[in-house]
Amino acid sequence: MSAADPAKLPEDEARPCAGSAEEEAAMDELQLDENRGSKTKGEGGGGGGDADDFDAWMKSRQLVKPDDQLDLTEAELGEEVSKMLTPTNTNVQRNLVVYSFKEGEYVLAPLPGNTVTLISFPGNSLHVDSEEARRQVEESEEIGYPLPMPNYAVVEQRETVVEGEDEGEGEEDEKTDMDGKQTSAGDAGDEEEAEEEEDEEGKATEGEQATETGADDEERPGETQPATAAPSKKRKLINQFNYCERATLTYNNAKRSVDTQTIPPPRSSFGGNVLQWVIYDTYQEDYEATQKATSSQGDHKSRSSKKSYKKKTAMAEQLNRKYMRCWQILERMINQNIFDDIGNDYRYWEDPADEYRDGEGNLLPLWKFQYEKTKKMNVTEITFNPSYYDLFAVCFGSHDFLKQPNEGYLCLFTVKNPSYPDYIIQADCGVMCCDIHPHYPFLVVIGLYDGNVAVYDLRDGCKEAMYVSRGVKCKHGECVWQIKWGPDMADGEINFFSVSSDGCVFNWILMQNKLWVTTIITLYLENGITDGPDGTKVVLKSGGSCVQFHPTNQTVFLVGTECGLIYKCSTAFSSKYLMTYNAHYMSVYRIDFNRFDSNIFVSCSGDWRVKVWEDMRADPLFIFDLGSAVGDVKWAPYSSTVFAAVTNEGKVHVFDLNVNKYKPICVQAVVPKRKNKLTRLAFNEKLPFIVVGDEKGVTTSLKLSPNLRVMVKPPKKQLYLDQLTLQNAKLEKLLSLVRELPEGSVIPDAATTVRS
């Protein structure tokens, strides 16, 4: 018998274990069988049996008999059947012939080999002892491929069960042994292989025994501690069925693309023709041009072009001015048409209620003048133009030390057009005061918060100052509080005086192209010498806060100081004061001379008082307490006994001493008490109204009711007397009452706060 008819083998031998896959494989191919067999044993012994082994064992329990299996009795089974085995394969035909075309006859074909391949199955398993396996084991030891932990216990258990079935193993052993015999009985061509395999098998069995003994040794501890079985044997070989791949996918960073495109450089195009005559002509032209240029001055050309440009701009400006003027007239016309009734009220409205009130009057608010850009600034000065009765200048700045604006304005409004100022002059810090020249109504001088002064000519436009103080020495050290045009000098030079917190009164002369400044007086305090650093003496100065010139004697002026003193000074000399009035307890805000009697003046201060003084009399004639700081006080131009004052409470107080020596005849709140304060006031020279400025940049015009401007009626016997004489007489009569006080006795400061 040979391997050519292996299918009959199980039948002949009547082996009942035909179902085992292992054994079938063993029949099919010898080598494979050997390998498998040895492997299973090796693994079984080593305790690493896998699922196939387990299944094989399970199937052996339920034997399946083929239907056509013979039923043999015990005797028959026990009977020995002898079979003769010959080394010749009887199935091989020995007389096969093939026709040979070369020899022209049939020749014997060569014998086919004894090998019959029924199934070819390339194996992927490795023999434990093979070179490859050893290498893998070494590698795994190096790298370390431990078995997954949970499998250990299962494998151990299974192993023990397998070990318990010694019979199965024995059978298998027998079977392999028999296979080995078969192979050894096989063809001579397979001998070498077979020998090798036998060797291997031998080793395998040896190894198996060794492992079996090892397993037996381990059996007892393996039951109790299956996981601690020798770890070196737990290593599994890696093949295509047994490997584990682990991978993680990391996050890919999000991709983003950013691009920019730059602007390509600008391009132009140029073209031309180069011809000899072109070159020649160009040279000629250039040569002639240079000849000309050298003969007449080189920069003549450029100068003329500049000139023409200047001319053009000047023309445009002139044209603009022309249009501006037209628009102004138009605006004024529209305003007068719209507000016709109010416009008439200036002149013609008389409060009929005054006839029934004795000694009391009221004020009728007319327009509000404001300029957009000065809404948050304080009105710091109001002055009427001496030549144009309707035009008045309003200065905008700030009285608050901490809230100084970066700009200041001087706006000239006219009562004929309340919507927009006629002239706007902008300065780079708060404008604190201004004055309009009495003889040149276009000349305006302003004093700035930073101590500078500037003169503007309104005819030239308001953009550039005609004169500006320049330099550190040619300016006040501190805020300029009041500025007044002086009478022209002997040689006709125009000049003005300014007073500042730095304690100096300056005289500024308008020279040909600059301002010439001289110090008129420095307001040194009496007994005001204190120790300075390093043993030096410092003479204290008092800061001036207002200045007023005597209406008739133009060399004499009064200076109010921040200490509350009023100095009477002369421009002729600066060494001493003509008179010092201890006028107030706080800063003197404004002084005003009476329009009819220049010996009488009134002063107001932050100590709530308004005082009426007579020249060279140390004590005031009248004292009025207005209940809050008095910002401004002015005598009326029409009456010798009427003056008005504005307070921080937002009220206007109008006094007529002839009517009431103790109380104002009119107290009227013009702006809300809490939110706003009144700062300045001015009487119109011609019409019976006043303008008051407040802290919000608003100037309000108020019409005086008839009771506030009572004229003196001439006595019946002296009808020829004019109003001026009568007014003087009225004042004189009033003053005589006060003057009657004995010389030297002090008027008690008994004024009580006026309540409206």
């Binding site: 450089p265 600008p266 391009r267 132009s268 195009s269 140029f270 073209g271 031309g272 023709n273 180069v274 011809l275 000899q276 070159i279 020649y280 160009t282 040279y283 000629q284 250039d286 040569y287």
Partner: protein, 104 residues
């Protein structure tokens, strides 16, 4: 008078050879430099315009960045577009025109 006119005629016949910038929108400083360079190159290789153009172009590329184009010749027409502030149209030597412009 007649004499003077004759003299003037004589003057006119003088061949001007100074460099004359016909057109340029370069900055003053750059123009001076370029004119100087062109003149020196023309004088150096007066017989070979091609070489002049090449040398000028190369040194311009080095000095003012690449993409310069230079034309040197006695008669030609051109119509070019250039990066603004980078053109010079120059006459030199009485019969030579040099156009330099930059355009990438």
């Amino acid at each position: 008078m007649g004499d003077e006119e004759n003299v003037k005629e004589g003057d006119k016949k003088i061949v001007h050879i100074y460099p004359l910038v016909k057109h340029s929108d370069m900055k003053e400083e750059m123009r001076h430099e370029v004119v100087e360079l062109s003149v020196s190159m023309c004088e150096k290789f007066s017989s070979n315009y091609e070489l002049v153009a090449k040398m000028i172009k190369e040194s311009m590329d080095k000095k003012f960045g690449i993409y310069w184009h230079v034309v040197v010749g006695e008669g030609f027409g051109f119509e070019v577009s250039y990066e603004t502030e980078n053109i010079l149209y120059l006459f030199f030597g009485g019969n030579l025109a040099i156009v330099l412009w930059k355009c990438s």
